[in-house]
Symmetry: C2
Subunit: 246 residues, 2 copies
């Protein structure tokens, strides 16, 4: 039986989604609980990685199980044994051909930035920047990313040169709610650091330190040296992974 699982997590105590033999990963924490339930090692396949300190409200993974229990019971069993920083939201039984990574057709991320210098409870959950921001200019900068582009300028320099870096952004905007700025971006898929680099670039436009033209030039450069900006990880949330019918 193949299970599709939606999971939310507080990424602050973890090295990220993926196991790397240098600290606790979310993947490993879930696999440990599944091993306890099954009596043997059960591997899970996530929709993709999230970096250290990045959170999720709707990460998706799949795994195969011989256990004959209902989805509701699976949610309860997992949540009873997982640390409270990892909470299963939903479990579905899917076709054996379903693949959490290969079948994902879109992802949505949220980035939250606070300008409140007096709230001690946001440090692990929002980016912080006290510089005045021009929200209209930031909205215009977001628009530049929408559509299909080669995002070589907006990813880790470590990516293999042969890898295709063309991605499509369906939606990217920023809204101000009091002292908090909330970015929402939806695309077909994202390269490593792509959302954080896009968000920080838009912030630099909001501060008047980059122009719309310079951002456009960064995109067109398709160069790993074009963008030196990357927003702090703790403001980033993987909100939703979509599996559209093709």
């Amino acid at each position: 039986m193949r299970y599709k699982v939606t999971v939310a997590y507080d990424g602050s105590p973890y090295i990220g989604w993926q196991t790397q033999n240098r600290g606790d990963s979310i993947e490993e924490a879930i696999e440990k609980v599944l091993e306890t339930m099954h009596g043997y090692k059960v591997s899970i396949v996530g929709s993709g990685r999230t970096d250290a300190r990045v959170h999720a409200k709707g990460q998706v993974f799949h795994f195969d199980s011989i256990l004959d229990i209902t989805c509701e019971r699976m949610i309860e069993a997992l949540n009873a044994q997982l640390d409270k920083s990892i909470r299963i939201q939903n479990v579905e039984i899917v076709e054996d051909t379903f693949h959490a990574r290969f079948d994902a057709t879109a992802k949505t991320y949220m980035y939250v930035l606070s300008q409140d210098a007096k709230d001690p409870f946001i440090r692990a959950y929002m980016g912080v920047d006290y510089h005045p921001l021009d929200v209209e200019m930031m909205q215009k900068a977001c628009q530049l990313f929408i559509g299909t582009h080669d995002f070589t300028s907006f990813t880790s320099t470590k990516i293999h040169p042969d890898k295709d870096r063309t991605r499509t952004i369906y939606h990217f905007d920023v809204k101000q709610k009091g002292s908090v700025f909330q970015f929402i971006v939806r695309g077909d898929s994202f390269l490593r650091y792509m959302v954080r680099m896009m968000v920080q670039t838009v912030l630099m436009v909001g501060k008047g330190k980059e122009s719309l033209a310079s951002v456009q030039a960064m995109l067109e450069a398709k160069s790993k040296h074009a963008c030196k900006y990357k927003a702090e990880p703790q403001g980033l949330y993987l909100m939703e992974v979509e599996y559209g019918k093709e």
Copy 2:
């Protein structure tokens, strides 16, 4: 110049307010920044301790300074150097006779308990209990504590036997907001663990595991063995310290 400072903090990374030579205290973190600003050790005097993992939205302390800067500048200077888990809310210049502990006339605490098994972001910020709770019975149990009582049954067993344990509770209630229960308690002062022991006792009434009569008996027992309940620290917030004119 004596400064009265109101500070909010996320208590989760700390061993508590008070320095104890076995980990980071909030007191120590603030004194380190003051030492950097002054060039010599500056001691602060808090309104009282908070335990490990307990938070504050309105803790108060005082200190003496030879620095001739405005209160607004003092807030900025402290917040610029403090870790983001400790945020100065307000600074006032007060009489040299003001004392943050001795002059406090009332304190208000909040305790927050969640019944949501699916939220990964509350683990360090709310108590968690999934058992059904009777909120009307809990409200009645809160009432039993209001007034002046000897709270020997509701404090640490380590308190010196000669110490006076008579305290006055002005207000104690609990409200339900969806899956969250919020307790508010205001009193003249509180013994160690007193709020957490009262809250957990009220919760046991809400679960039907203690009766109003058994809680009344606990109070009247004035015995360190009468109450074995204590709520988890991470749901507790010191909200306000009052300094009434006598």
